[in-house]
């Protein structure tokens, strides 16, 4: 099967609170740029489908050169080719992104399976895969946890409310991948990482007019004024038990 895997590098979502500041713009400070967690899941699923079907995959990202970190990871895990759709860093309208990724997909000769992460952990939009499916007029299977290659088709396990769905889907189609034990990204071999660093990344120009722009960005107020229960384990347990009892007596609880 031919696969196109769409990736995005983002500011480390595990960065401690306050490390990234939001005041009219994103101030990233010293926070590193990393492959988005769900894009790691998407990359893993792409590798699995490519291997099981004796096929191959092309990795595509959009943005400035900071995106190369995502593409190099894909190259280290066996991507045949890496393509970066050139764009400035920062927020992009997801519809315009989907249009430009469609242009990249067409330039790459199309695919049987288009693989996205469920949601990039920066703007938390979570709509690009669906928009892409709508533009391509292709079926869309969201929240895939596992894929099994069955001839020219895929048996997909998808997360649904309160459980999962399994069904056989006919290619071509678009999938978004969610996290789980079966889509944990494997680690590339050191030798493959070294080789990947020497491989070319093709830069593609594709334009699309945005219809969505950021009007304001601000820090969310989430911090609570916490009180610590101190002492040794027995004292802490007594303090915590008192708090829990107070809560339960006040009528809380199921």
């Amino acid at each position: 099967m031919r696969i196109i895997c769409f990736l995005k590098a983002i500011l480390d979502p595990e960065a401690p609170p306050g490390a990234i500041r939001f005041a009219g713009k994103v101030e990233s400070g010293e926070v590193a740029t990393v492959l988005g967690p769900f894009e790691g899941n998407a990359l893993e699923l792409s590798v699995q489908i490519a291997q099981a079907s004796a096929g191959g995959f092309v990795a595509v990202a959009m943005g400035d050169a900071a995106q190369d970190i995502a593409l190099r990871k894909a190259l280290a895990l066996g991507a045949e080719r890496a393509v970066r759709v050139d764009a400035p860093a920062g927020f992009q309208d997801p519809l315009a992104v989907a249009r430009r990724l469609k242009a990249a997909a067409e330039e790459a000769g199309g695919a049987d399976v288009y693989v996205f992460g469920r949601q990039a952990g920066d703007w938390d939009m979570g709509v690009t895969a669906g928009l892409f499916a709508g533009l391509m007029d292709l079926p869309f299977a969201p929240l895939v946890q596992h894929a099994e290659v069955v001839g020219a088709n895929l048996r997909l396990r998808r997360e649904i409310a309160g459980g999962y769905e399994e069904s056989l889907r006919v290619a071509p189609l678009v999938v978004s991948v969610t996290n789980g034990p079966l889509t944990l990204m494997r680690l590339p071999k050191v030798k493959d990482v070294m080789l990947a660093n020497r491989k070319p990344i093709d830069v593609l120009q594709a334009a699309a007019e945005p219809s969505l722009e950021i009007a304001e960005i601000a820090q969310a107020q989430v911090t609570r004024q916490g009180r610590m229960i101190t002492g040794d384990a027995a004292q802490q347990a007594a303090g915590l038990a008192a708090e829990l009892r107070r809560f339960l007596v006040a009528g809380g609880g199921n």
Binding site: P13, S211, A233
Partner: protein
Amino acid sequence: MRIAVLAHLQDVGEAPVREAMGLMAQLGGEAQTLLLAPAAQPAVAAMGEVRLGVHAALADPDPEMAYAAALRLLGDQAPGLLLMPEGPLFEMIGARLAGHFGMSAVRDVDAVELAGEAVVLRKGAYGGKAYVRVRATGGVVAALRAGAFPAAEPPAGSAAEVQLGELPEGGQERKTVRDTAGDDLGRAKVIVSGGRGLGSAEGYESLRPFARMLGASLGASRAAVDEGWASPAQQVGITGRKVAPELYLAIGISGASQHLSGMSGSRLVIAVNRDEHAPIFEAADIGVVADWYQLWPHLQKALEG
């Protein structure tokens, strides 16, 4: 501007649909409510003027079925603003419909205003650390955060039933398996959640007797789900379930921002973690810097006593 609400009654229940209708009424303009359901619904008659697309297969729709059904209900002309409750239907078809009609799409929306022909929407970003207002021109599909808008009490109207005809099957050999593990998280008043700090599946299991004592439901962080200790249905976070219990206990959870935004609606948050610098303590009302395995025997005794 033409505004429409599109929802599947079964997948989110009546309240989020009424909230979307309330927002639509408040925004004014030409309004339309489009609902999908497996059969005629008595509840719908009390929801005002509604176009109801009925098909038995919508009891448990495949994404392809839901997409075809929604397209038939919407017709050729998309509204300028399509409001959908955040939930399974939006996940399956919301953004795809937007792409089909050349509209943009925004989810997790908690405020909407019209500015001439533009729509300004507010949403969370960076795992809840920031919020943004985005201005959409050229049409937008918005997924509304549950509880963010006052529900409408529309005048009694009539539901016009729309026959959807044959719907495509989508996937073959389809089966759905319901995992009841996380079923009650959405309405739980007390949740005990475990994370990577518990160290193992056995460690996670040790939360069960504690949860039982409190009458709590069991949740998990993304790390605990990735490790296979808990089922994906139990994952609390911006990408799992958003919960709002009266009491949320985070045990061995460091507090990645995506987790924090899933439980930030909790009334009282208590965190237990070995690492005093864990971000979870910044989101907690009460913190205990302790090793759960040393704390638990004492806590058990104190709660039983």
